[in-house]
């Protein structure tokens, strides 16, 4: 590898990884928002994925693909537990229940000997990297784009617009809500696992409420008309702090202003384009 490229990759490695991981997190948020639910547990799901994967790698030395699988299943289980009771309720309640999950989980990580408490887990071996992160992101994007243009995508949008009417058409509301939450938890868990294995160190406070809010803002800034919006939002919000580095103290001020202005002037997100919902050309039959 030529030296300048090597230097470039080294300098921006964390950023390049973070873009991909945050893109995945934004997609995990998108699945839930796309059917009109709101979860603030994405950070918790991510943390669970990160811890489970790190422990399995460090303590048991399991092979990476198996570790990733486990890192997706554990948050899926947590999503089932926290999602089921709130299915009957409006989105706000799921949001708050997931905040609860996040806090309880954080306190568990802090108090447990196994997870190293507040000191976190360090020395997680580097595994995966560019290919696994961006491969997952691309796969997830394609999958979401395909699903959006199918019966499932239509049912999800129908639920977001009018849950009652969607139910009257035979859309199994609890199954869809729970399914979306579980898929979203799996994606967040995957993102957490991938991230843990490129950053070598994780600690409970990385997955708190602030992180949850940041993940939400990825999706909202980008817009949820298509799965591409949230990824765009994630890229912008990940790059901003780095681009604005010279502003030092006023970095967060500018960051905040951008969010405020974007919402006021583009309430449907930066990428307001709504993806078509049919899986084939909708022209008149010949």
């Amino acid at each position: 590898m030529p030296e300048f490229l090597d230097d470039f990759l080294f300098t921006y490695q964390t950023l390049i990884y973070a873009l991909g991981v945050n893109g995945l997190l934004a997609l995990s948020m998108y699945v839930v928002l796309a059917l009109g639910q709101l979860s603030l547990g994405q950070a918790a799901f991510m943390g669970l994925g990160a811890y489970v994967s790190a422990l399995l790698t460090v303590k048991l030395g399991l092979p990476f693909p198996l570790v990733l699988l486990a890192a997706m299943l554990a948050p899926a289980l947590a999503a089932l537990c926290v999602g089921a009771p709130t299915l009957r309720l409006s989105g706000v309640y799921l949001a708050l229940a997931t905040i609860g999950l996040g806090e309880v989980q954080r306190i568990f990580f802090i108090n447990s000997e196994l997870t190293g408490g507040a000191l976190g887990l360090s020395g997680i071996p580097t595994k995966g990297g560019l290919i696994s992160i961006y491969g997952s992101l691309a796969l997830a994007l394609i999958a979401f784009a395909f699903v959006a243009r199918s019966k499932i995508g239509r049912a999800m949008e129908a639920m977001r617009e009018d849950e009652l009417a969607a139910g009257a058409l035979g859309v199994d509301l609890p199954a869809y809500k729970l399914g979306a939450l579980v898929v979203s938890a799996m994606l967040a868990g995957l993102a957490g696992a991938l991230n843990a294995h490129v950053s070598s160190f994780i600690s409970p406070n990385d997955y708190g409420f602030d992180a949850a809010v940041t993940i939400l803002s990825f999706a909202l800034l980008g817009g949820i008309g298509s799965p591409f919006g949230p990824v765009l939002g994630a890229f912008i919000l990940t790059l901003l702090p780095e681009v604005l580095r010279p502003l030092a103290d006023y970095k967060t001020v500018v960051n905040g202003s951008i969010i405020v202005l974007a919402v006021i002037f583009m309430p449907r997100g930066l990428l307001a384009w709504r993806m078509g919902r049919a899986g084939a050309a909708t022209g008149r039959p010949k």
């Binding site: 699903v147 239509r154 617009e161 919902r277 049919a278």
Partner: protein, 263 residues
């Protein structure tokens, strides 16, 4: 007489101590239009919601083609072939007319998650068939020009048609119509009536809650009249409008007379 499509048997629901629907029974024969009328507050909307599955009954049974459905949630009933429209139109505003109709086919569109992820031929065929069917429905309800428009932007009358078409898209066994003519003027009502007549001609069974008596009397084969949560009369339009109980509680002498005069 053939087995009933919908059979409502001793249906009762209480809110607190109050019986909003009290021991109501009626049935809808296949291919017929059944009217459910009564004064405001008589329990029509509650009965309607009980049949759709938005409220759980306190007692009694509801059967669709002989199968108990009263324990199912609304989507479960929809999957078995119960479709409905809403009194206040509920559109999927951002969807095009065509997409709305494809959404209406949800319950009997065979697409697995795997097939849509992999874009298998089975998925493509299902989608193409759905689109073709949607076009046929669009033409049928006369929304051809609006097929690609955002459904939230359509005028009221068109939204009403689209809502009915959306309900029909699932090829329901029974169509529940909640005051479809509300907010329509006589000419629009006539157009709606024509549409429903055509459906009836195609053998679609319907249960209709409506206040426009001319509309109800012309369209319905059988009518059930509720008052204070109880059934007070049942029969053909002619029988019902002649029933003094109905005249007293609901129609009023003037309307009853005007209905008897041939239009």
């Amino acid at each position: 007489m053939s087995a009933p499509r919908l059979d409502v048997d001793c249906l009762t629901v209480r809110f607190g101590g109050l019986a909003a629907v009290d021991d109501v029974s009626f049935s809808v024969a296949p291919g017929t239009v059944h009217g459910l009328i009564g004064p405001n507050g008589a329990g029509k909307t509650t009965t309607f919601n009980l049949i759709c599955g938005l409220i759980a009954p306190t007692g009694g049974a509801i059967r669709l083609d002989g199968r108990r459905i009263d324990a199912l949630p609304s989507w479960g009933r929809a999957q078995l072939g119960l479709a409905r429209t809403f009194q206040n139109i509920r559109m999927f505003n951002d969807m095009s007319v065509l997409e709305t109709l494809m959404t209406g086919m949800h319950a009997n569109l065979a697409e697995s998650l795997l097939a849509s992820l992999l874009r298998l031929p089975s998925f493509r065929h299902a989608e193409r068939a759905a689109i073709d069917k949607a076009w046929a429905l669009i033409d049928f309800v006369g929304l051809t020009e609006a097929a690609h428009r955002r459904s939230g932007d359509l005028p009221y009358g068109d939204q009403r048609r689209l809502e009915i078409a959306r309900a029909l898209a699932g090829e329901p066994r029974l169509l529940l119509l909640d005051e479809p003519a509300a907010g329509m003027n006589p000419s629009e009502t006539q157009a709606l009536e024509a549409l429903l007549e055509t459906l009836k001609g195609r053998g679609v069974s319907m249960l209709l809650v409506e206040h426009d008596m001319r509309f109800v009397m012309r369209l319905c084969d059988q009518i059930t009249v509720l008052n204070f949560g109880r059934k007070i009369s049942e029969g053909s339009p002619r029988e019902v409008r002649a029933d003094p109980l109905v005249v007293e509680a609901y129609l009023g002498a003037k309307v009853a007379r005007s209905l008897e005069a041939p239009p």
